[in-house]
Subunit: 352 residues, 2 copies
């Protein structure tokens, strides 16, 4: 870990709280991932689940991007689907995530464990403790979980989906069972995230990657109530709460009403427009991940455009609009993080 | 064709022009498709391309939903990728569309034909003439084409894509060639659609199914200029112009500035909000196609919700937010079309 100025230490947490910062903080979703040589080497010997369940390996994956790039936050290496195992489902990666015997009706939902063995996810807590020790107070560590809708869709579809037909059918046609499912997910996720915070996670991000499959009305009627309960329960942890969604620009205000103080947006909306539609919120985003594959001048121009719109706003955290793509050149990640710091000062004007 | 009241004849065209209608008009994207038994029977004997290129078969596919359901518009059976053949690319369906030797650089773009043999797409004109004769002035017939961005993405990726990395790379890194490509697509599409209008198409819809892959800035800088030229060239045809996009709610105003009088929206935005953001435009949409698979009471409730928000608006055309899914029960399509007429009057109040 290279030495960093004192102000650097809490830049990310200050921005989450909409407090002034010296320069815009930056981290990247899936920054610990396949685009990194160290992680790829790890994956030749270990499966994703092995890495996630072995605290030393998860810690190593977490720290690789922090050692390499000037990032303002680390995020613990884990997978949003891990709590499904604690709920009694069987999870595999081949390489897309697959759930054996996905949930197809009320009986399946009733069988789900709601008070999982507290030990069943303790490896994530152990990884967080290890990573906090290594980070040594210099870079804050983010914990995370999947949002109720996104987790439910995996549990029902059995893997990634295009049309979410089974999920929507259960949601619309058996609303009582759907609510039970959402409630069980919320309870398990709350206990999981409390454990993460107790282990040292200094902020929590909730990933609602598939929210964009929904109409605003479906979101409000079938997803928002449970998601509100989740955020309401997380408030007592006293750490910043980030709610990321993809494809939710059509109902951003509803999405933001779930209760997080920081809203993560995808690249399908101007960041300035996101700030206008989200008064009182910190906003995280929103570069198209495909731009990290472009030549540096193209990447720089796009990054500066976002900084021009957002760097003078209270509570801006630079990120991508979705996770880093595996094809991303690591040098571009470094260059982008450096530009955010160089041009993301309140007075630098992002002129480039 | 069952007899229909006189007012029925031009309900769709009147709504496109934001003129008063007796009840809300309705048609469905991909209404001539795999959910219909007649079409499936046709497909056991003929490929998609065979049907599209044989005017009698294309006419038959076009008319099947009109014969079965009380729809207010027919849309000619064709595929948005047909003009790619006229431009010199080889197109196959197996079953996803595949383009042999997709475009990978400037040399490929230069090779594209810009003045295709006027005969090369004449089968679409023949199908339109046949369908108009069969429709006998009772139901208007929509012609269509793919939008420049959506067509370019197929030409470059060689088929459907998730991340559009090759398309975005060409667009951002070789902007001169990208503009040449867009220009060639616009020229071919203009001549193709002029032929459709001359053959009898009474409205034109442009499908920008992949617009949601773009950031607002990419859309404005690299896609909007060519799309504006397309709509500008289409104006002289004197028929209503519909521009449908999926995933464009984050930049709906930019999308609408391309020049169509009717904007088609997906289901990720409230239809009332779409009207508010699109002053002066007619709006088409926006039921989640997955709802057509739901039990009738669930489907009805969702349809009435849209009608409550939109049926008193000038220029509302009921449609889905994307194409009909193959798993859709035809009886649900009939029920939905009937409800739109029953509850879509200005005074019916969509009470159900």
């Amino acid at each position: 870990m290279s030495p960093r100025p004192a102000a650097f230490e809490s830049r990310f947490l200050r921005a989450c709280a909409r407090r002034p910062v010296d320069v815009v903080p930056v981290w990247f979703m899936r920054q610990a991932g396949r685009y990194l040589p160290g992680y790829r080497a790890l994956r030749t010997r270990h499966s994703i689940l092995d890495i996630a369940k072995t605290p030393e390996l998860a810690c190593e994956a977490t720290l690789e991007p922090i050692r390499k790039f000037p990032l303002d936050a680390a995020i613990i290496f884990a997978d949003i689907l891990l709590p499904l195992e604690a709920m009694g489902l069987r999870l595999r990666f081949n390489p897309a995530p697959t759930i054996d015997h996905p949930i197809r009706g009320p009986a399946d939902i009733k069988r789900l464990a709601v008070r999982p063995d507290p030990e069943s996810l303790s490896f994530v807590g152990d990884a967080i403790r290890l990573a906090r020790r290594e980070l040594d107070g210099k870079i804050p560590l983010i914990g995370f979980a999947g949002a109720p809708f996104t987790l439910a869709s995996y549990m029902i579809e059995g893997g990634p989906s295009r049309d979410f037909l089974l999920t929507k059918a259960l949601m619309r046609e058996i609303p009582g069972s759907w609510d039970t499912l959402m409630d069980r997910i919320v309870r398990v996720t709350l206990s999981y995230l409390k454990m993460q915070a107790a282990s040292g996670a200094q902020a929590i991000q909730i990933f609602d990657s598939w929210a964009g499959a929904l109409s605003p009305e479906d979101y409000r009627a079938s997803v928002l109530p449970a998601t509100k309960r989740l955020f309401s329960g997380l408030k007592e942890l006293g750490v910043p709460l980030i709610y990321f969604g993809s494809g939710a620009s059509g109902f951003l205000e509803d999405f933001a009403s779930a209760g997080a103080g920081v809203i993560g947006v995808d690249w399908r909306i101007d960041i300035g427009e996101a700030f206008r539609r989200l008064p009182g919120k910190a906003v995280q985003g929103n570069l198209d991940p495909a731009l990290l594959l472009a030549p540096l001048p193209v990447l720089k121009k796009a990054a500066l455009r976002i900084l021009r719109q957002a760097s003078s706003r209270r509570g801006f955290i630079f990120n991508l609009g979705h996770g880093i793509l595996p094809q991303t050149p690591p040098d571009n990640v470094r260059a982008l993080a450096e530009w955010v710091h160089r041009y993301g000062g309140r007075d630098s004007g992002a002129k480039g």
